[in-house]
Amino acid sequence: MNNRELIPHLFRTEYRKIVSVLCKHFGADKIEIAEDIASDTFLTAAESWGQSQIPPNPIAWLYSVAKNKAKSYMQRDTLFENKISKEILKSSDTKSELDLSPENITDSQLQMMFAICHPSISTEAQIGLSLRILCGFGIDEIADAFLSNKETINKRLFRAKEKLREEKVKIEVPVASDINERLETVLTTIYLLFNEGYYSESQNSILRKDMCLEAMRLCYMLIENNDTNQPSVNALLSLMCFHASRFEARINEKGEPVLYQEQDVTLWDTELIRKGEYFLTNAAKGPTLSKYHVEAAIAYWHTHKADTKEKWENILQLYNALLQIEYSPIAALNRTYALSKANSKKEAIIEAENLQLTDNHYYYSLLGELYTGIDYSKAKDNYQKALALTKKSTEKQLIEGKMERLRDISNSSID
């Protein structure tokens, strides 16, 4: 690694660790102070390393600077509080040196994850805070990922931190009796974080991939801890491994999306597929069947490219099960597509018309696809409705591609 990349790299891997340890040390109400100290540590590094040279062990250097900054903050804080309130024995004042041992770093990050994914904080804010505090993303990067601007993101993060203070959220792993309920919120946030990267409209494909990998890393941290190594956690990681295996195949050199049917299978990451299978096997322990189990099983079948009857029958039954656990429009549409593959297009058209998701462009895309080869004008009408409903240029390209194929099919049948 050359020196130009060193600080961004360290920022990505170490900022989150330093912030988490500081937060745990000071308490969640001082989250901004923790961020300031961590940022200041990196600023000091940038100046100092620029002026002289890079130390032999940059990480140890960062930790020792962070410790010193934390210590001087605590001294100032004690002084200040003594003058104002005369309360000498504040809990944070008496704490010893900042503990940057590997164990405490891991524990702090896990506890931070539960604090940030607290049910009282809005989902959007949870994702933003996760990206900032748990993944060490810059405000610019978060703004880019959300197709938003720095001011909006800063406001959102500020409000989320206020909420952490108001709700007096503790930085700790919940007790065993609460863990499953709290874990559910954490898993939702991790999955949304992954999807944000996977389906983002951002042109920055490296950033998008990083978001997915970060979501997987957070999930893996839960697996490494005995209390949180639950079947649903393994199922979610399995699901993300299967999806991520297609990362290189689903976007072409121009950054345009490539449909599943047209993907080059040699670009699928077999190592990730193997990992997905491993975690899916681990997820099969215990009596619970979460939606992540079902979604992981669906994703597993999608790692088989060949269109077999067996594949689509399995996918159909899994979608039937998924919809009984939790309804979502996209699951309903995918289920109907699977129905067309497993049973028949005719049956799927009847069921698709029943869905009436008339504000959803995927709904009309699906109808267009189902009518292709059956009724040319209905197929065309539906594709046009889909086009009218989407603003995303990448989606428009995909629909236009499908319309082109529709014309080819109808022309060839006339010949």
Binding site: E313, L316, Q317, Y319, N320, A321, L323, Q324, Y327, A331, A332, R335, T336, L339, N343, E351, N354, L355, Q356
Partner: protein, 113 residues
């Protein structure tokens, strides 16, 4: 949207039919496809808990008989809670029920409150 309870009944005599494993698999698929289709319209409320096939009946003279199907023609086979705009829509959904293909029937009851 109103919630409806669908009750499936079929002839008690049908119990004597022994379908092959393949036929049973096909029956399971028909039910799952039907319920999946209702869920895909976001009209499934709950599949409820599965009823055991065996049961006992308490009669007016407080005698207890084994199973509900000793003297009755029809046996209660299962239930489903759905939601629909009105009775007509609920009936339309009920028309897809696989029990109709084996000579059974579906009773549709609106739920109140």
């Amino acid at each position: 949207m109103t919630e409806f309870l669908l009750l499936f009944r079929r002839e008690a005599a049908a119990n004597s039919i022994q379908p092959s494993p393949e036929q049973m698999q096909a029956m399971t698929k028909q039910w799952q496809d039907w319920i999946g289709g209702i869920a895909a319209q976001n009209k499934l409320v709950s599949t409820g808990k599965r009823m055991d096939f065996e049961g006992k009946v308490v009669r007016p003279n407080k005698t207890i008989t084994n199973g509900p199907y000793v003297e009755v023609k029809e046996v209660l086979n299962g239930m489903l809670f759905i939601k629909a705009v009105d009775m007509d829509e609920a009936l339309e959904i009920a028309k897809g029920c696989p029990i109709l293909q084996v000579g059974g029937n579906v009773e549709v009851r609106p739920l109140i409150g």
